[in-house]
Amino acid sequence: MTDGGGSAGETRAVGDPVVSIRGVHKVFQVADGRTRALESIDVDIQRGEFVSLIGPSGCGKSTLLRLIGDLTAPTAGIVTVNGKPARKARLDRDYGMVFQAPVLFDWRTVEGNVRLPLDIMGVRGRERDRRAREMLELVELHDFARHYPRQLSGGMQQRVAIARALAFEPKILLMDEPFGALDEMTRERMNSELLRIWERTKTTIVFVTHSIPEAVFLSSRVIVMSARPGRITNVIDVDLGRPRNEETREQERYFQLVTAVRESLRGRVDGETPVASPDRTMAEGTIG
């Protein structure tokens, strides 16, 4: 078992939270009124945690991620990242983002796209090329280094975006459905790779997904959200051991947790959930 290994409870006990969200509301003004995208969100994410956000489409998962990344500002409330305002953390380049769409530059090759953050952040020469190549091998696209994005499939493009986000080894990874466009086999392999990187780099990951098994397999905690207005309805500690592998997916506890997340999503949070989380240090939104 690695250092970051233990149960989620252990990791959470130490230090100040990496991400602290306090009383956050987000309202979008639209032509025919207002969209209450997020309401009364309170979350703390500790260093080295792997937190998944799961919830129905339109419940504000992307918005929450964008708030952490200071790509949008909260209507009310405070977002603190690494002990500083989210804006400061963005300017300090504390996080890497994988968007829901790949967002690649047509005019850069696959390798050039992976190199983009390194170019911007002033990593030069051999070090830059080495890291770009390493990341491409990780996502198994080294044979496509000289291709242009338009010559790749959607899933391949998304893998380029993942390699790009990992290339500059950010302290925090914000990932918005990064594996949504991949086939089941690639997805499971990418899951294992992501866990390996997470354990090696001790980075903090906030991960949006629509897949319950994926959320359970990867996370130390799963945050379940509901829509209109978007709020947190449950937080489930995933007390599966680490490292996680194919055997994890066959454990009894794994199935119990998958069921627990599923029922939370259905809005049935009753006493029978096999989840014990009495020592929660963060205050979640009201339980629906």
């Binding site: 990344g69 380049r93 983002m97 967002v103 005019w107 090759t109 983009l116």
Partner: protein, 296 residues
């Protein structure tokens, strides 16, 4: 006219052909066979156009003699070729001078258009004030003010023709490049924002590459415009050894074989000029070639 859609439409047509080539190539065995086939396919692609061209010339030659058309109505191609040979010196000097005017004017207009486009990148106020005016100016027949330019800069001074060309070229370049610099996908800007990239970095790494296809679309339109501008400017007076003057003077002497020869030379110059821009475009934007198919 100066719309990137024009360029896109053309690329679309090319995509079909290359796709054909790839299909045919894919079934072959060796690389050499494949390369050869692709080459044959490419020749095959140009064959219909070449046939139409040659056919037209032959039909032209035959109908002139069959219908016994007067030479000053429509000289046959053979007479035009003869004029090209007999007036070679005059025609060559004229074509070169006209080309000089066109290229000079093109350079002035393109530089001015780029300058204005880049200066207004940061200010949406300036853009909103300038762009509608530019679009409107682009719609009026600017060529009509050629006599005024001749008056201002001197009929015999090549600068007068260059200014006509520059004015013609300025608007499409400015409008297109402004669009290319500003119409960047919001998600791309968001990515750059997540890297805390400076405005300068965004300009260099996003806006300029994004504007390149727009720029080349404008440049291709402009090469054509530049020759039109120069020749029409010359119609209103200028040194006698320019294509426009040769056309006007030979026509007034009813030497229409020379007129046609000069027109032919202007056409060839225009096509070569255009192909040159296309070649540079492919060199500068290799990713655009990648849109045409899976070659390589």
């Amino acid at each position: 006219m100066a719309d990137p859609a024009v360029g896109r439409g053309m690329r679309g047509a090319e995509a079909v052909t290359t796709a054909d080539g790839t299909v045919a190539g894919g079934s072959g065995a060796g690389v050499i066979t494949r390369g050869l086939r692709r080459h044959v396919d490419r020749v095959g692609y140009h064959l219909p156009a070449a046939a139409v061209f040659v056919g037209t010339i032959v039909l032209w030659e035959l109908s002139v003699s069959a219908l016994r058309l007067q030479r000053f109505i429509l000289p046959p191609p053979t007479a035009i070729v003869a004029a090209l040979a007999s007036e070679a010196d005059l025609l060559r000097r004229s074509a070169l001078t006209t080309l000089f005017e066109a290229v000079g004017g093109l350079a002035i207009g393109v530089i001015a258009g780029l300058l204005v486009a880049f200066l207004t990148v940061r200010s949406s106020t300036a853009r909103n004030a300038l762009l509608p005016v530019a679009v409107a100016a682009n719609a009026i027949p600017i060529i009509a003010i050629a006599p005024i330019m001749n008056n201002w800069f001197g009929v015999l001074n090549p600068l007068s023709k260059m200014m006509i060309v520059a004015l013609l070229v300025f608007f499409p370049v400015m409008i297109n490049v402004t669009r290319g610099l500003t119409q960047v996908e919001p998600s791309v800007l968001e990515l750059m924002r997540s890297y805390a990239a400076s405005e300068w970095t965004i300009l260099r790494r996003v806006r300029i590459p994004n504007a390149l296809p727009f720029f080349f679309t404008a440049l291709k339109v402009s090469t054509t415009l530049s020759l039109i501008g120069a020749i029409v400017g010359e119609y209103f007076g200028g040194s006698s050894e320019v294509l426009g003057r040769v056309i006007v003077q030979s026509a007034s002497r009813l030497r229409f074989d020379i007129t046609w020869a000069a027109i032919f030379l202007g056409a060839v110059t225009g096509i070569v000029f255009y192909l040159l821009v296309v070649a540079v475009e492919r060199l500068v934007m290799p990713w655009h070639a990648s849109l045409r198919g899976q070659e390589g």
